[in-house]
Symmetry: C2
Subunit: 332 residues, 2 copies
DNA sequence: ATCGTTGACGTCAACGTTGACGCCAACGTT
DNA sequence: AACGTTGGCGTCAACGTTGACGTCAACGAT
């Protein structure tokens, strides 16, 4: 458990200055091939590893990115985190992770903590309804990528899915299956500003059928239990409901369970469309028809956008909108 | 985007030395109440935040812990990560996260990266079959908590579930339901040393029935697809199979799907017991009978063990073994 | 022969913080 | 009156690295 080797140790061994060793380590040039070889050998022998903390102190670049999430147990999230972590590591970055439980105070605390640790950038998802925090940090020079929301501020880039289109696709699919008495289950945690899928859904209904077409709405937690409760609420509003568009797949699964428990068959009596396309949606019966959101692509775009922002700060760039598609399975 | 305030700035504003400000920030004592008040006010006004990087450089404590996981998309994992992150944040630590895809080289890279960033400790899960890496870092002074494996080395503590007991419980449950022709689906990624649940299962069978009792084994990926493949393999080995113990719930779900696809009813024709108790196991039909592993408790114990290790290094401590229980639902 | 250029280094300070130590006045003790 | 103790600070160096700049020899061009 003796001290770690430093640039000084390597330099002493080779007989050059620490600065030269640093040049070799960073591929800066300004040394002869023989020196390089000797330095590399000494590094190997002493098992020298650059101290990222010291480097970060002077360069102001720590080689880390922070991921601020809502709740890791949301099945949509792990794939995102995994993708971001993977991409970041390819770029030589290490990922901090913290979840906020959708609490603005905790989000603030997390951002402070990341900032104090000199992260090179953060990816935030979901943004809650407190974007002032983000614009504030953006102004102070922190590159931020916001997933699934639109924030207009310096150093902030946005990556989101075309959820209005997702809502439209769901509506068209249900309409073309002959459904006319629709319900939407929305999420309580989702602020009104961000109800794009719901708006797209309703918009498509009115476009196609005129605004006499009924569509009732319930609010629920974005979980299976929430979906069960949401189904009950919809049913109390419209007992002869025949089509449901759910906030996400967990909610859709809950709604299907509640439908089955109430003696209704899916899709014969009630058709259900979810959103996300989590893995489990393939495996339940009936398999869930849903709006697929490509999380892998989202991760890539988010990391890429963050990289751009880090390399060329203060440059405005338009939001990246990712396409969605409807995956027709058995539930609708 | 002007420079961040430092101890010097605060000191200059108040008219004391930076060292005194540092004392106040760290609650060290050695200053008068009035000084304290003035310093605090200046800190507030200048929005001073201690620079963790500089602090880490000198104290060798960065206030970070690293989590090394296999694959975040394994449904067992997010709850663990969430719990650890939560606990760590309560202790003022920020969590690094990286997944290795169960590749020893990537695990090595991740550990190097964490080490270079001066993490105060790491939690590793699963440990793959390359524990030399871990013992090496442990010897170099890195506190390590290994989840779900036993590693005997300085600075390494272990937290694991009583999986042999889990296997026994599964066996007893299947036996008492009258099953006699058993199959086990194990995971290819799980090294032989760690097949405790399988050994417990087989041990209970032989204890109860003598060793004439057949139990066939298949290997598969720890996924739903893997479970489907594993079921086919078991069936080819023992066509009149009537009981299955699966590596985890995903595998169990796959096995149930394959059973249904082959025209067999669960649990009437084949009983299936899983392991983990992921949320989805409640929601599928038939609901899965499984060995529950309490991830929340695991997170708590892991973070607690890591905290102990950080505060009192080099002290041996016995592995923490967490109890498991069988949750009987519909599938067995 | 002189001069600028280039390559290959070395020197020094700085990043922001804390550990070790020193100083000085006020106070109580003998 | 001399002495130790304590509270309340300040000073200085160090953590390991890199940015800015300096130096010096070798070399080609004039």
């Amino acid at each position: 458990m003796d001290r770690e080797a430093t640039l000084h140790d390597v330099a002493g061994k080779v007989g050059v200055s620490p600065r030269t060793v640093s040049r070799v380590v960073n591929d800066e040039g300004g040394y002869s091939p023989e020196t390089r070889k000797k330095v590399l050998a000494a590094i190997e022998e002493l098992r020298y590893r650059p101290n990222m903390v010291a480097r970060a102190l002077i360069t102001k670049r720590s080689g880390t990115v922070g991921l601020v999430g809502g709740d890791m147990t949301d099945p949509f999230f792990p794939a995102l985190a995994e993708g971001i972590q993977h991409r970041a590591r390819e770029a030589g970055q290490t990922m901090f992770f913290a979840s906020t439980g959708s609490d603005p105070d905790r989000q603030a605390e997390v951002l402070r903590s990341f900032w104090a640790r000199a992260v090179d950038g953060v990816i935030v998802f979901p943004a809650l309804d407190s974007i002032d925090q983000l614009t504030d940090y953006g102004r102070r020079g922190l590159p931020i990528v916001v997933v699934d929301d639109l924030v207009e501020a310096p150093n902030v880039a946005c990556v989101l899915f075309d959820l209005p289109e997702g809502g439209r696709l769901a509506a068209q699919h249900l309409l073309s299956a002959g459904r006319r008495r629709m319900g939407v289950i929305s999420a309580t945690v989702s602020p009104p500003r961000r109800r794009h899928r719901e708006r797209g859904f309703v918009a498509a209904l009115t476009e196609t059928q005129g605004d006499h077409l009924p569509a009732v709405t319930a609010e629920a937690d974005p979980t299976v239990r929430g979906g069960e409760a949401g189904f009950a609420e919809l049913l109390s509003l419209m007992p002869d409901l025949d089509g449901i568009f759910a906030y996400n797949d967990l909610v859709a699964i809950g709604a299907m369970r509640a439908a089955a428990a109430s003696g209704r068959r899916v899709p014969d009596d009630i058709a259900v469309v979810g959103c996300d396309d989590i893995e489990m949606s393939t495996y339940i019966t009936p398999a869930l028809t849903t709006i697929r959101l490509d999380r892998g692509r989202l991760s890539n775009e988010a990391v890429a956008a963050l990289g751009d922002l880090i390399d060329a700060p203060a440059q405005r760039r338009p939001p990246v909108v990712l396409p969605v598609e409807l995956v027709a399975r058995e539930s609708a």
